[in-house]
């Protein structure tokens, strides 16, 4: 869907004609319900949930479809502080107060309540997990409480408690990571990852904070902390408004390491992740800066550009207004499509790539314009690397890569530069088959020895427990579209979401808890954040860090994902073959490029298709570089095969040496029949005969030999050949061939004697 959408904007310009690398696509998903009191996002199940007084409406956000119809559930009256479905969608948990959470069986409608035992502690929030030992986790001011819950039993069983004085917490389902803030300044963080492979406690760590004054003690707010999951690694980003830096911490299983920082240009920022690309929205400046932190580089992918709405036009608006009547039947009157205010105050950024306009009940999905990004940089190598890492629009990325490869060759860029570009593509492909991600590649062969180089060292130490089980391709069996090279996932086979495409391959949907961020999260100091007009009915928890999870994000849909990796076959058929004609005048350049390609493929032990060799021979022969061609054959740069031999024979029409190379190759490949046939054709009938006898080729017709001999006008040879067949082929003497050529021989002899 998204691929289509963005391809309608070929030049990378938004509808307004402005340039952008990141956009939101019109139309958005509308979730305005009359009587709605708030909008929640459940990132565990990736649903947008809008409660009214007695029921809740849910919109699935994956796959993102603006016209999806909501489902609804009846719930009891009462305030809703937060709401989450269990991962199997059978249970619905609603936080009614800082002390009570109601759990409702959606089928039977049975409900039961979970209440705090003591008045002193409050429930900051809760989330469902896919851990084998527990199903739901409550985050309380006194620590974590892990419960198991079977839908038939009307109560929860306490499994484990983690005692801790919690000020606020941050959780994303994507990372399965909950960060608990403790201490006066709330900058002392403790993390637990509660996933299907168990519970991992992270070492406690402190966030650095710049001081505005010497003795001030800044307090870290929950909204300044972002858990970010890219490439299967988990990072925590911390906004330091004083230093105007976004500190980047990476979580390892046994350590938390600060890995640089990103500058910010706005006191208010938001963070999204689209297809493993980190987007830092500089809200005040109304621009997005894109980072691809794959290689720990803190350099932006491209220049900051605004976020734009695409696909919105007057006509469009009118149309959708009409159509909108149906969809937004519940919504009421205020469908003012007019101007979508970018970075409006009411925008809530949902993990990882959604934006909810809570004022208007609109959900946007953030898209990357790969085309615009790729055309914005002249660093071909970097762009290709970037594109190769894209999964979401893998096919588009792949097409862009192919187009770029064609372009740089057609533009006759320097060979080393093109070589680096090809290296990137070949290496990425090699990596993708090593990790088993490449599926269409049934015919992809690796040549002989696989060098035992391991995949990627950076990834493996990532926090997830699963990492050991992960990188060998064993898990692949199960998943059809195994995509991300991410670590933690594999573990989660039992993901309870019934979002089919997703559940099956990936354990790592992250449930981000937005609670504390932006408008509706309770501020930890307890000051009631001014309620938005848009959601007046929300009952704001007084407690610090309401922990409510009003909004939830789903991970990107991955069902369509293939890899952007480009196989050697693709490179040949979509890069080398199409440009060959256009490069006719400069075949030596193309040969140079192909040599680089072969070198690259050889280093990765990839087999290349035969037609690249055939093409190479044609190019060299066209330029009459026969000496070089000979060298290429001798050094086996052009690997021997029947096709190659045939091309050598064809190209050797004007060059006898080249023809010989083809003949020799046939012999070395033990294609004796063809070899003998060609020898005869070239007039080497005696040699052919000798060779045929030695290699026991008996498929060549005697008449061919006899014809060739007769043509040479040598009666001795003719006699010898006749004799040969008479001796070695039973009943040859009774064939017409024998009679015919015996007569010829007699004639020749009489002519000689005469």
């Amino acid at each position: 869907m998204s691929a289509q959408a963005s391809s309608s904007q070929p030049s990378g310009f938004g509808s307004s004609g402005a340039l952008s690398h990141v956009y939101i696509q019109y139309p958005p998903l509308r979730c305005k319900i009359s009587g709605a009191r708030n909008i929640f996002y459940d990132d565990g199940t990736k649903q947008l949930i809008v409660p009214t007084s007695d029921q809740v409406f849910c919109w699935k956000t994956t796959p993102f479809n603006p016209n999806v119809t909501p489902s609804s559930d009846q719930i009891g009256e009462g305030p809703v502080l937060s709401i989450r479905f269990s991962l199997d969608l059978k249970l619905l948990a609603v936080q009614r107060s800082p002390h009570e959470v109601q759990i409702q069986n959606r089928e039977s409608g049975d409900t039961f309540s979970f209440k705090c035992r003591s008045e002193s502690e409050r429930i900051l929030g809760f989330f469902w997990t896919d851990s084998p030992t527990c199903d739901i986790v409550f985050v309380k001011t006194s620590g974590l409480e892990l419960f198991s819950c079977s839908s038939g039993i009307r109560s929860l069983q306490l499994v484990e408690t983690k005692k801790l004085n919690v000020s606020w917490y941050v959780y994303t389902h994507e990372s399965r990571l909950v960060l608990l803030a403790t201490g006066m300044q709330c900058k002392n963080l403790t993390g637990y990852q509660i996933s299907s492979v168990g519970i991992v406690r992270l070492p406690r760590f402190d966030m650095a904070m710049a001081k505005s004054e010497a003795n001030s003690k800044p307090v870290l707010a929950a909204e300044d902390i972002y858990i970010v999951t890219v490439y299967g690694r988990i990072y925590c980003l911390q906004l330091d408004k004083i230093a105007m830096q976004l500190y980047c911490y990476r979580f390892y299983r046994d350590a938390v390491i600060q890995q640089g920082s990103l500058p910010v240009y706005s006191t208010k920022i938001a963070v999204s992740v689209v297809d493993n690309v980190l987007l830092v929205h500089q809200v005040d400046a109304k621009v997005v800066i894109i980072y691809d932190i794959f290689a720990d580089s803190q350099v932006p992918v491209s220049a900051p550009l605004p976020l734009l709405v695409r696909g919105f036009s007057r006509a469009n608006a009118a149309a959708s207004q009409l159509m909108g009547q149906n969809v937004e039947g519940l919504e009421g009157k205020d469908s003012n499509h007019g101007e979508t205010v970018i970075y409006a105050d009411e925008w809530v950024f949902l993990v990882p790539d959604l934006i909810c306009d809570i004022a208007n009940g609109i959900l946007w999905k953030i898209h990357l314009d790969l085309e615009a990004i790729s055309s914005s940089s002249s660093e071909v190598q970097t762009v290709l690397e970037f594109l190769q890492r894209r999964k979401l629009e893998a096919n588009k990325a792949k097409q862009l890569c192919l187009a770029m490869a064609r372009t740089i060759i057609l533009e006759r860029r320097p060979v080393p530069m093109v070589a680096r570009a090809i290296d990137v593509l070949v290496n990425c492909f090699s990596l993708s088959i090593k990790t088993g991600k490449h599926h269409m590649g049934s015919k992809v062969e690796r040549s002989s020895t696989t060098s035992g180089s391991n995949v990627n060292s950076a990834i493996d130490e990532s926090i997830s427990q699963a990492d050991t089980s992960e990188k060998p391709p064993k898990q692949e069996s199960g998943s059809g579209t195994q995509d991300k090279s991410i670590v933690k996932s594999s573990s989660v086979t039992s993901e309870s979401e019934d979002n089919v495409s997703f559940a099956k391959n990936r354990g790592k949907s992250i449930n981000v808890d937005l609670s504390s961020s932006e408008q509706n999260g309770g501020n930890l100091v307890g000051t009631d954040v001014s309620g938005d007009e848009a959601q007046p009915s929300v009952v704001r928890p007084q407690a610090p860090g309401s922990g409510s999870t009003p909004l939830r994000t789903d991970e990107q849909q991955e069902s369509l994902v293939t890899s952007a990796a480009i196989s050697p076959d693709d490179l040949c058929s979509f890069v080398f073959a199409p440009i060959e004609e256009e490069m006719a005048g400069d075949s030596s350049y193309l040969v140079a490029i192909i040599v680089e390609f072969l070198r690259s493929a050889n280093l990765e032990r990839l087999k290349v298709p035969l037609n690249i060799y055939v093409l190479m021979i044609q190019l060299l022969a066209r330029n009459e570089n026969y000496a070089e061609l000979g060298l290429f054959i001798m050094n086996k740069i052009i690997e021997p095969s029947k096709e190659v031999a045939m091309q050598l024979l064809a190209s050797g029409r004007h060059n006898f040496q080249t023809r010989k190379l083809g003949l020799d190759m046939l012999r070395e490949l033990a294609l004796h029949h063809d070899y003998v046939l060609l020898l005869v054709q070239d007039g080497y009938y005696l040699e052919a005969l000798r060779f045929a006898r030695k290699t026991k080729v008996n498929t060549v017709q005697p008449s061919l030999f006899l014809e060739a001999t007769y043509a040479s006008n040598d009666s001795q040879h003719l006699a010898a050949v006749l004799r040969f067949f008479s001796d070695f082929i039973p009943r040859f003497k009774s064939t017409t061939d024998h009679q015919t050529y015996s007569r010829y021989l007699a004639e020749m002899n009489t002519m000689v004697t005469a």
């Binding site: 320097p414 080393p416 040599v595 070198r599 000496a627 040496q657 010989k660 070395e668 005696l686």
Partner: protein
């Protein structure tokens, strides 16, 4: 040994006979003797042309001497006279002719054709001067002690005018090719050529075979690390280890007086020898490796108005274009880049830009290739096959490979003489086939049991030749034949398995 070059179109009038002599060795021989050698040769050429206009006289075998003829250019003949008296004086005509051919092609590579030189300056003074120094420098390579050592029967498992190649694996070959492309891009123009050598062996080239052989020969003679370190022992037949710089001096004493004699004797030209600026590319110990890795020489003089030496240039046969020769050396790797003179602007300045480009862009690849090749390098005996003494010639690709000279030297004189005779036979057979004009390359096999019991074998098949001596071998022909078969299968991918 006598060696002369003469032009049939010159000195056709009585009294002007000296004019036809372009070169004579030894130069201090009296003119009447010189003229008698040339007169005999000319007479025979004229006579045999009646029967065979295209290929007249090839050799005269007299009782005491052999005269080997080579028509280097139309009507310009080279004749070598060797004595048969000594025990070592068992010659193979084709081997001697290949010496003539080699010196001529090298001369043309540096100076252009003799005819062109004569046309440029009809008096012949320029041509004589160039030939004199060139051939003297060339012959000095054959000096051992005070004697010229021409290829005789001891060299019967060697082939002049061929290229020896390093065998490399596919991966190394791809790295090399990658380097070749970078070099080409450094040269900045399409018509540039490259030659990459490891030790004295060719690794890769983009040159056509004719030019390749000349440049390869020159590189091995003067440019490779072995050639640069004078006096180092050499295992290539192209270079004698004992050559020293005074060797050529011993050949060319009183050169000026020698050359002046032609003019003093008949006052045709007022131009003295000393007025010619002579470039002597074959002079010894003139090349050295500069700090930046490029090889430098002052052979081509110094540039006007500067102290830096002029860059060497050579003529390419195929394109008939004058090229700058730019040589770079890293350890055992020698890289030669040929760039058309016309495509380099500002001469030396333009070249230094190219050199800079090479240092900047190609160095990493050069280091990588050198490392890779060194790792796979089996040493000078890499291509020795125990039990065999062989010579393998691929006439299509102009590639030969032979047992290392040290191993060939272990053969007895009888074996070597037999091989020399055998090759003479094969040469004859080949030239006969050529005369017949059939382009069919016949398969041919000869096995001889020499007096000492060694097998001396030749096999020819479709442009490829294999010569082999098997000493201490079993006495049956079957054994010999199987030994060849085994060799062919293992080392020649079955080419000679008939």
């Amino acid at each position: 040994m006598k060696l002369c070059i003469f032009d049939l179109r010159r000195g056709q009038h009585e009294g002007q006979e000296l004019d036809k002599i372009l070169y004579f060795f030894p130069a201090d021989l009296p003119f009447p003797t010189q003229l008698s050698v040339i007169g005999l040769s000319e007479g025979l050429i004229t006579f045999t042309r009646i029967f065979s206009p295209e290929a007249p006289c090839e050799v005269i075998e007299a009782e005491m001497h052999s005269h080997v003829f080579y028509e280097a250019e139309r009507d310009i003949w080279m004749v070598m006279v060797v004595e048969k008296s000594e025990s070592e004086a068992i010659w193979r005509t084709a081997a001697l002719r290949s010496v003539l051919k080699e010196v001529h092609s090298l001369f043309v590579m540096f100076h252009g054709s003799i005819r062109a030189l004569l046309d440029r300056e009809p008096s012949g003074g320029l041509t004589r001067t160039h030939l004199y120094y060139f051939i003297m420098d060339y012959l000095s390579d054959f000096l051992s002690g005070k004697k010229l050592h021409l290829p005789n029967f001891r060299d019967s498992l060697k082939e002049r005018g061929m290229v020896q190649m390093l065998t490399i694996g596919r991966e190394a070959a791809l790295e090399v090719q990658s380097l070749v492309r970078v070099l080409e891009s450094c040269a900045g123009c399409k018509q540039s050529y490259s030659l990459i050598m490891f030790q004295d062996l060719l690794v890769s080239t983009t040159l056509s075979p004719d030019d390749l052989i000349n440049l390869f020969t020159y590189t091995v003679m003067r440019l490779t690390p072995n050639a640069l370190s004078a006096g180092a022992s050499s295992w290539s037949y192209l270079r004698k280890g004992s050559t020293t710089s005074n060797a050529s001096a011993s050949l060319s004493t009183s050169s000026n007086s020698v050359l002046d004699r032609y003019y003093n004797s008949h006052d045709t030209s007022p131009v003295g020898v000393r007025s010619y600026q002579v470039v002597r590319p074959l002079q010894h110990e003139k090349w050295s490796k500069g700090k930046d890795g490029f090889l430098v020489t002052d052979i081509w003089g110094t540039e006007v108005g500067s102290l830096s030496p002029s860059s060497p240039t050579i003529w390419l046969k195929q394109t008939e274009e004058r090229m700058y020769l730019c040589a770079f050396q890293h350890k055992s790797l020698t890289i030669i880049l040929l760039i058309p003179v016309t495509s380099v602007h500002n001469g030396e300045q333009g070249l230094s830009v190219v050199k800079q480009q090479i240092l900047e862009n190609a160095s990493p690849k050069i280091f990588k290739v050198e490392e890779k090749l060194s790792r796979g390098w089996g040493g000078e005996n890499a291509y020795h096959v125990s039990g065999y003494r062989y010579l393998l010639v691929d006439g299509d690709k102009y590639i030969s490979r032979a047992s290392p000279p040290g191993k060939v030297a272990t053969l007895t004189k009888d074996s070597l003489v037999a091989m020399s005779k055998l090759r003479e036979e094969v040469d004859l057979e080949k030239s006969r086939a050529k005369c017949d004009g059939s382009d069919c390359e016949k398969d041919q096999e000869i096995c001889i049991r020499a007096k000492n019991g060694a097998w001396v074998i030749s096999r020819l098949t479709r442009g490829k030749e294999l010569y082999m001596v098997l000493e201490k071998a079993n006495e049956t022909l079957l054994y010999a034949s199987e030994a060849v078969e085994k060799f062919s299968d293992r080392y020649c991918s079955g080419v000679f398995s008939l």
